[in-house]
Amino acid sequence: MLIFEKSRPGRGCDLLPASDVEIYLPEEKDKREQPLHLPELSEGELSRHYTELAKKSHGVNDGFYPLGSCTMKYNPKINEDMASLPGFTEIHPLQPEHTVQGCLEIIGEIENSLCEITGMDRMTLQPAAGAHGEFTGLLLIKAYHESRSDEKRTKILVPDSAHGTNPASAAMAGYKVVSIPSAPDGGVDIEKLREAAGDDVAGLMLTNPNTVGLFDKNILEITDIIHECGGLCYYDGANLNAVMGTVRPGDMGFDVIHLNLHKTFSTPHGGGGPGSGPVGCKEMLSDFLPSYLVEGEETLHLEKPANSIGEMKSFYGNFLVVVKALTYIKTLGREGIPEASRNAVLNANYMMNKLKDLYPMAYDEICMHEFVMSLADLKKKTGISAMDIAKGLLDDGIHPPTMYFPLIVDEALMVEPTETESKETLDDAIAVFRKLYELAETDPEKLHQAPVTTPVTRLDEVNAARHPHLRYAF
């Protein structure tokens, strides 16, 4: 039941004192006429309402969450505690610099650590999410070419396996998007890349490991081809959790990158945000970075880069998310950060190997932190789709893998276990996956009906889009 349906006129909570000054109201011409319809509930009723909503939600803490490309690792408690310190939460973003030395230290310190982990020279914490980081990075590329009066570069190359935000961000930055086909091995088709590379190319956007979970061994050749034609290389950090301490984007030839602190650095996803998408770059781009950078040794201060692209959002980014990520980096440190990546890769390979006799892998080779299965054959044989298997998992308390992505694999399920899952959890999940495969063969109808144990069954999305009902009608 919606909170509005529980509302009763006259109920509520006693929250604010009476005014200790004379009441001042706006003139009639500016006074609100339309009455408010906010909920009126007692505190107890409110509390129950939200407990009920929480029960109808599934987080990492509710069970295994192998959502490919999203790195649903455990969200440590200490991070939350640290981001709740009044010394951070009660700080106004426009306080004088000498009163926010702690905040500047946080920003400066995480910049150093993230630059070291990624092989970059400078980093801005301002972008609020991955897509926001992509947009920022592309504007850096644009500013770089413009500063060299190299204005014929109108294209951004994006592999056809890329996440939808890549082309969308390139378009927002005013670029024409050229899709580069993948080679049969899932990597970038080098010949096609050579054909596309020219003096009209501003840059290439790439993840490595790529979106099928494989490390592209031609990476140095790829970034060389782009550099030779005068373009820059953009690294989408969505998959960084596979390679920390092993490979650094900066050493692979990337000039600008974004990270997702809400994936790789353990900050909670919050049901879809807030995230944080810092953007790092090599020295030659650092003058164009947005917002302010922290400078100074003893006394820290904020300095706007000389040829900054401007502001991407207000203030200095999702600061409290950054506090959580720094807490994580401090906890894991020099040894723990690589250990996390190595175990993410181990867990993924373990699961892949224990499933591949039943579920065909899109690419049957050593994977990185995630792998992609194709259910095309199963669907042909039994009518059971990737979606059906996904919905079947729900009844076993497992969050499904990413479905139907990347687009280059038919009936794709992309599995990313992360390093924070135990062997038993993986074994249990493997058993469930195997059970569902058998069910697909023996009783497909049952799977078409799944899920049956959830608060609602499959929802009519077509109806929702055709007859949009987007708010409660009072």
Binding site: K31, P167, G245, G272, P274
Partner: protein, 439 residues
């Protein structure tokens, strides 16, 4: 060193053996040697929870927490009911991803549907999205969504906060929208200039209300000027003000956006905040970002899903209305809880108290020789002019643990009061400043 990897070294070895490898290195063997990192990462060693806590607390202590704040300028200290933190700490909600799997995400989806309803109610608009990054990006997206095939000009008021203008400029760098700033006149949007410069190519007019200086604009008139030439009217509004001030819908806006931070989010050195975006029904399909809709399941039971996704990047790729791929879901939850807990009376009270206290404080500051520059009606922010240096005024307050207003220049300060500022605090500030002013 802390670690969140549960498997012991023994267990890892066993897992490797089971799948036919002898060490984890085997799994990285195919990565070309020339790109591999030589040696270790040069970052500090990992630490125990005890040590990390101590270190972080020491850093936090280097910040000054002001007991009293008279500074707004885009980020506001308001009262936050205990319910907000309690709900946003619930792990099922905190640790969930985007609600793509609707069957196990009904709680989050419903909370967004409720949020959308409350934003529509506050603003008087028909449709709200699930939120964007913050107020400034909401403004930028609000301007961008008005672009049409033959309308590529946006007129934006010079009375919006400078950082909002900068973000709109950044977003327009690539999207083909041409920006023109309407100059400020006496703290308000220059309507004469607007009338002269608006034309058939104008996609939209954007103002903020109350504006950067706290003033209420002639918002209805500006809307009429926009609509006369067929331009859209986008208003950035302070959500608390809507407890007592006319809604953007009542002023005639087509799109309403704003910074949601005042609705239950802490100052947090600037984030995470939330940008709300709402529009009239006619512009529903131009709204960027996530939207939740109501539907039914196979058994006819009511449920909620992400909807109208044909606008979004994962379907449309480079043709999407925006690249945004997330919302500030947990912040939207906080806003929903805040509005539900405060209720009609609480929100109205917060608005009236903020406005009343600002007027009391302004009057008291005038009594000790500062000049209040606002000639128009103001809400909870106002600008003073003093012969005394802004710096000197603010330092005197800072010494007593008070964060004064935001210095606009050597002699002008932008002050803010909210319901949390007591008469006692204001009188104390006036007392300190009486001496500084030398009267």
């Amino acid at each position: 060193m802390g670690s969140y990897v549960p498997n012991t070294l023994e267990e890892r070895k066993k897992m490797l053996q089971e799948i036919g490898y002898s060490s984890i290195e085997d799994l990285f063997a195919h990565i070309p040697e020339e790109v591999k990192l030589k040696g270790e990462l040069n970052i500090p060693n990992g630490k125990s929870e005890f040590e990390v806590r101590r270190e972080m607390e020491q850093i936090a202590e280097k910040n000054q927490v002001f007991k009293t704040i008279f500074r707004g300028a885009g980020a506001y200290r308001h009262f936050i009911p205990a319910m907000v933190k309690n709900v946003t700490s619930k792990e099922n909600l905190l640790t969930a991803y985007t609600p793509y799997q609707a069957e196990i995400s009904q709680g989050i989806l419903q909370s967004i549907f409720e949020y959308q309803t409350m934003i529509c109610d506050l603003t008087g608009m028909d449709v709200s999205n699930a939120s964007v990054y913050d107020g400034a990006t909401a403004a930028a997206e609000g301007v961008a969504m008005c672009q049409e095939r033959k309308k590529h000009k946006a007129l934006i008021s010079g009375t919006v906060p400078p950082y909002v203008l900068e973000v709109v400029e950044t977003y327009c760098f690539g999207n083909g929208m041409e920006l023109e700033v309407i100059p400020e006149k006496d703290g308000l949007t220059d309507k004469e200039y607007l009338k002269e410069h608006i034309d058939a190519q104008t996609a939209c007019v954007y103002i903020q209300h109350p504006n950067y200086y706290g003033n209420l604009e002639d918002a209805e008139e500006i809307g009429k000027i926009a609509h006369e030439v067929g331009a859209k009217y986008v208003m950035g509004v302070n959500p608390i003000s809507l407890g007592v001030i006319k809604t953007p819908a009542e002023y005639g806006a087509d799109v309403a956006v704003g910074e949601g931070q005042p609705l239950g989010l802490s100052l947090g050195f600037g984030g995470p905040y939330l940008g709300f975006m709402a529009s009239k029904e006619a512009m529903m399909r131009k709204l960027p970002g996530r939207i939740v809709g109501e539907t039914v399941d196979h058994n006819g039971k009511t449920g909620y899903v992400l909807t109208l996704q044909a606008r979004e990047q994962h379907i449309r790729r480079e043709k999407a209305s925006s690249n945004i791929c997330s919302n500030q879901a947990l912040c939207a939850l906080a806003v929903g809880v805040y509005l539900a807990t405060m209720g009609n009376e609480g929100v109205r009270q917060a608005a009236i108290l903020s406005m009343s206290k600002a007027h009391y404080f302004a009057e008291k500051l005038e009594e000790i020789g500062l000049t209040v520059c606002n000639q128009a009606e103001f809400f909870h922010e106002f600008v003073t002019r003093s012969e005394v240096d802004s710096d000197k005024i603010l330092r005197a307050l800072e010494e007593e643990g008070i964060l004064g207003g935001y210095p606009l220049d050597e002699h002008h300060i932008l002050w803010c009061c909210t319901e949390v500022n007591t008469k006692e605090e204001m009188d104390q500030a006036v007392h300190i400043l009486r001496e500084v002013q030398g009267c």
